[in-house]
Amino acid sequence: MAKEIKAKMLSKILEVKVKPGDAVKAKDVLLVLESMKMKIPVRTPIDGVVKSVEVKPGDTVDRNSLLAVVE
């Protein structure tokens, strides 16, 4: 089952650690965001394969923006 990973708040993409096709385990860090001068690791809640990454470093995202899909 595909899991959509979304941003929880307005933030900037600092780092993207995975690319489509990568195998990931639950709790692995997919990307790192920055908000309020804080680095925020975004983790996958499930084991699976990265289906898509929707953002690149430097992008600004808002609450509920799609970041990546893992399935």
Binding site: K8, M9, S35, M36, K37, M38, K39, I40, P41
Partner: protein, 513 residues
């Protein structure tokens, strides 16, 4: 006698079956359960006793005499949840749209009085079109009678509101005055004025769900504490919530034998990052420290920069207030202040000790916050904790700066026991900001201001960083290793569980609202 009992049974059956297939299916078609189904699914099996089923409207205007229905569109009574008594009402949308008339209101008021007099939680299941227009001002006055009782019962018995259909206009305030509001996606809607009126008056077009659905109130307005997918899920949450609460303000919350010991947990040593700019999910700390699976989060999707909820610590119910570094760095803002203050006051009302897990850079700076009144909203946190007489424990995990230190950690303001991790950073502000102010001239005059700033920052941190300076003032009672958190928090709680504290006698305080 036999005849009379037969007649009674027939009357009762008529009431019970008044819904008929057509009415039941009209409710089911909307994706809703009927008023009776709700009662049966919420309560322990066969525990419900109805009160006042024969009551009906006295108004005869506008053909009301022909629409008259026993029960007057609301079922009231008492039953049990997990074996403990509750009083409740369940509005019947299939009768006159669940509208509230004079007698409907009287039935509810009666249940409220009984819940209060007997010290039992009150559960309000709302599914109503609002005031019964045919009954005019009698209907409005009925709301008044209900709201007064909601207000008087506040802090005496827990009051839970389930929004299981429309709840519009004045009717919303029975829920607004409750301790907890539960909503269900797709069927609940709650607003003072609906989309039609808004369109007429303001020209704004907005749908029911967008204006007053579960997500709006759980995420944006903060009116709802819980949002669920289905009614059954909602009932489950109600039953779970009640398992943490005392029946009334004169009892203590139910103790439950813990299923884990107090052994240390080395994994906790790795949760808090040493880099102050790195975040983590505070849920990880909560899950590792409190009794397994016992954390029930409240306002999960609202003001997520702070996490609040009920849990058990070695069997004892506690209220947790934890900054969430992962969301807006865990700052305090207006919504977080309201969320914390409301929760703290609830816990104090019902004898639930408080545990603060602290990692916050302070109050959120900005003109929006100032214009919207962060001063009066932020003051609610100070007021709520100062007023609270339940045991209050603080664990400073990392940042505790400025106003947030005062509000959430200050010994002399409110706290019985202050613990800290070695990673605690307790100060008026972060090192960089502090040094920039204290040494402004010196830095400006330096050959390499940036280098000087770094040097001074390091010196400042060496002297003032960490928990030990505060500990030397006695403002931190003990510094603990993260792995020992569960045991240390429990011992702190255990040592003050029976604390008695009094407050000046007064009519009531004047919390800044």
């Amino acid at each position: 006698m036999e005849e009379l009992v037969k007649d009674l049974e027939a009357r009762k059956r008529a009431i019970r079956e008044r819904d008929g297939e057509k009415r039941v299916s009209s409710q089911h078609k909307k994706g809703k359960l009927t008023a009776w189904e709700r009662i049966e699914r919420l309560l322990d099996r066969d525990s419900f006793s109805e009160i006042n089923p024969f009551v009906t409207t006295r108004v005869t205007d506008f053909g009301m005499d022909k629409k008259r229905m026993p029960g007057d569109a609301v079922i009231t009574g008492y039953g049990r949840i997990n074996g403990r008594k509750v009083y409740l009402f369940s509005q019947d949308f299939t009768t006159l749209g669940g509208s509230l008339g004079e007698m409907h209101a009287q039935k509810i008021a009666r249940i409220q009085d009984l819940a209060m007099a007997n010290g039992c939680p009150l559960i309000q299941m709302n599914d109503s079109g609002g005031a019964r227009i045919q009954e005019g001002i009698l209907s409005l006055n009925g709301y008044g009678a209900i709201f007064k009782r909601n207000s008087l019962a506040s802090g005496v018995i827990p009051q839970l509101s389930l929004i299981l259909g429309p709840s519009a206009g004045g009717a919303v305030y029975a829920s607004g005055l409750s301790d907890f509001v539960f909503m269900v996606r797709g069927i609940s809607r709650m607003y003072i004025t609906g989309p039609d009126v808004i369109k007429r008056v303001a020209g704004e077009e907005i749908g029911h769900e967008e204006l007053g659905g579960a997500d709006v109130h759980a995420q944006v307005s903060g009116v709802a504490h819980f949002a669920h997918e289905t009614e059954d899920e909602c009932f489950k949450a109600v039953r779970r919530l009640l398992s943490y609460l005392p029946q009334n303000a004169y009892e203590v919350p139910p103790y439950r034998e813990p299923d884990r010991g107090l052994a240390s947990d080395e994994a906790l040593d790795k949760v808090i990052p040493l880099d102050p700019e790195e975040s983590y999910d505070v849920h990880e700390v909560i899950e590792a420290v409190f009794d397994a699976g016992s954390f029930m989060e409240i306002h999960e999707e609202y003001a997520m920069n702070v996490v609040v909820g009920l849990a058990r610590l070695n069997g004892h119910v506690v209220g947790i207030v934890a900054n969430q570094p992962e969301f807006m760095a865990g700052v305090l803002d207006i919504n977080a202040s309201d969320k914390i203050a409301r929760f703290v006051r609830f816990c104090d009302c019902f004898n639930i000790p408080l545990v603060n897990l602290i990692d916050t850079p302070g109050y959120l700076p900005g003109s929006t916050q100032e214009f919207d009144g962060i001063i009066r909203h932020g003051a609610k946190i100070l007021y709520a904790y100062s007023e609270a007489t339940v045991p209050k424990i603080v664990l400073i995990m990392r940042k505790a700066y400025g106003g947030a230190y005062i509000a959430l950690c200050s010994r002399d303001m409110a706290y019985d026991r202050v613990l800290a991790y070695p990673t605690a950073d307790i100060a008026v502000m972060g090192a960089e900001g502090a040094v920039a102010i204290i040494f402004r001239k010196e830095i400006a005059a330096a050959q390499d201001p940036e280098k000087r700033l770094e040097e001074l920052k390091r010196q400042y941190l060496e002297k003032f960083g960490g928990p030990y300076l505060s500990a030397s003032y006695g403002l931190v009672d003990q510094v603990i290793a993260p792995a020992e958190t569960r045991r240390e928090l429990f011992r702190a709680l255990d040592s003050i569980l029976e604390k008695q504290e009094s407050r000046p006698e007064k009519k009531h305080g004047n919390i800044p609202l």
